[in-house]
Amino acid sequence: MEKPKLLIDGKRCDGRAMNELRPLKIQAGVLNKADGSAYIEWGGNKILAAVYGPRECIPRHHASPYRAVIHCRYLMASFSTLDEHGRSGPNRRSIEVSKVIKEVFENVVVTEKFPKTAIDIFIEVLQADGGTRCAGITAVAVALADAGIPMRDLPCALAVGKIENEIVVDSGKLEDNYGDGDMPIAIAPRNNEILLLQMDGMFTKDELRKAFELAYAAFPKINALQVEALRAHYAVKKDEVGL
């Protein structure tokens, strides 16, 4: 396939400015059985996150006498991309993504409160449009809060990309596939510490600096939508009862 033009007249291929996010919608408490859940639509991403726990840790030898262990399973549905029918089940990519997402939440969840237990996080990417791990993390934070699991913060995430010599936020799938670099970042918004960082592409030090600058300018917007989703979930119920 011919490489598509990613920058047209100073704008990106979908008309966005360099620092502009795609439309982002988060909904809390969308599943019935799960202890906590959230649904996120971000650009063309459609992703469900669910949380079970703290519950008994299976297998039991995984359990820790000091804290809850966190399991995370990130998966892409077989129909989630325009590419050929994908194979279901984990692959090498999804196993790595699951691991780095798990580490984000090991940082913020107050695991020491629940020794010997497990907290299971499930992320199902139903439709993928670039930046799925970041969208997944953003949704999981909402799902964990919805499950009543104590956390020191509500992490959010964003992928910053490089297109030719421009740094852009929230790369879409085309930009991800044909751009010159991709850097997913997850942070704890309260102290801005980096909880997930991956990158591939060729960045100079100044470009990295610029990438962080743009990402940190966008994080508060994402975080505000997470908080709003949680408040709305309980406010909606207030409306239902006519208050």
Partner: protein, 257 residues
């Protein structure tokens, strides 16, 4: 096991507070490191890296194959890592776990994103490309498997020779040209222990660390990064590590000559 680790962890964190590392190294020093190329005849390329007491080998096999459908004009690069059970009591036999997969994918990402192997140069004819398999085997685990593995993979690639191609077939017995390598990618891995950041963690330091950060570099660019572990870094800490990675990366690059 876990309880003993917790005790050792407290000791290491205490030591760091006293501005010391368990083996008296500077915070940004590598352990003694050696690279040997061409240690196996069976592979098209191979290398052994010893980094302190950590030891890994890498083999490169080159085969004829079909390209990926979405990249019909590019050769194929595949990188794996095996955490052999003989290398550590914590490594279990069986398919690669998340740690082995992450390790392989970090090594792969550095090589791939910097175009260290020009994949287009591996195109032979329609539906026929060269496939380069880089497999890293960890033989002895004393920490910082990422840097040792990336170094071994890079050394094995530099050592690799492409077999002769006749009528679209590989003549395995005749190795002629060097595999075309455009530059040398190396990784620098840092551990955060307490509030201290150290380069090239030993295994005992890894057990005490809250997080690690790997930067893969070419002489001018950072070409891959990966944070691991439950701890956190600030963006300032990260930016400060960029120059360190270029400088220390150059030391590693010299070992590859």
């Amino acid at each position: 096991m876990e309880i003993l680790d917790e005790i050792k962890k407290d000791y290491i964190i205490d030591l760091m507070k006293k501005n010391k590392r368990p083996d008296d190294r500077g915070y940004l020093d590598y352990r003694p490191c050696t690279v040997e190329k061409g240690i196996f005849e069976s592979a098209e390329g191979s290398a052994r890296v010893k980094l302190g007491k950590t030891q890994v080998v890498a083999g490169v096999k080159i085969e004829m194959g079909t390209p990926f459908k979405d990249r019909p004009e590019e050769g194929v690069l595949s990188t794996t890592a095996e955490l052999l059970p003989l290398a550590s009591p914590t490594f279990e036999p069986g398919p690669p776990d998340e740690c082995a997969i992450e390790l392989a994918r970090i090594v792969d990402r550095g090589i791939r994103s910097s175009n260290t192997i020009d994949l287009e140069s591996l195109f032979i004819e329609k539906d026929k490309v060269l496939m380069v398999f880089v497999d890293v085997y960890v033989l002895d685990h004393d920490g910082n498997l990422i840097d040792a593995s990336a170094l071994a993979a890079m050394a094995a690639l530099l050592n690799a020779k492409v077999p002769k191609i006749e009528e679209g077939k590989l003549i395995k017995a005749e190795r002629i040209d060097n595999l075309k390598i455009t530059q040398k990618v190396v990784t620098c891995t840092f551990s955060k222990i307490g509030s201290q950041i150290v380069l090239d963690p030993r295994l005992d330091e890894e057990k005490a660390m809250s997080a690690r950060l790997t930067l893969a570099t070419t002489p001018e660019h950072v070409c891959a990064m990966q944070k691991g572990g439950k701890g956190a870094f600030t963006s300032d800490e990260l930016i400060n590590l960029v120059d360190v990675s270029f400088e220390k990366g150059n030391e590693l690059r010299k070992l590859l000559d």
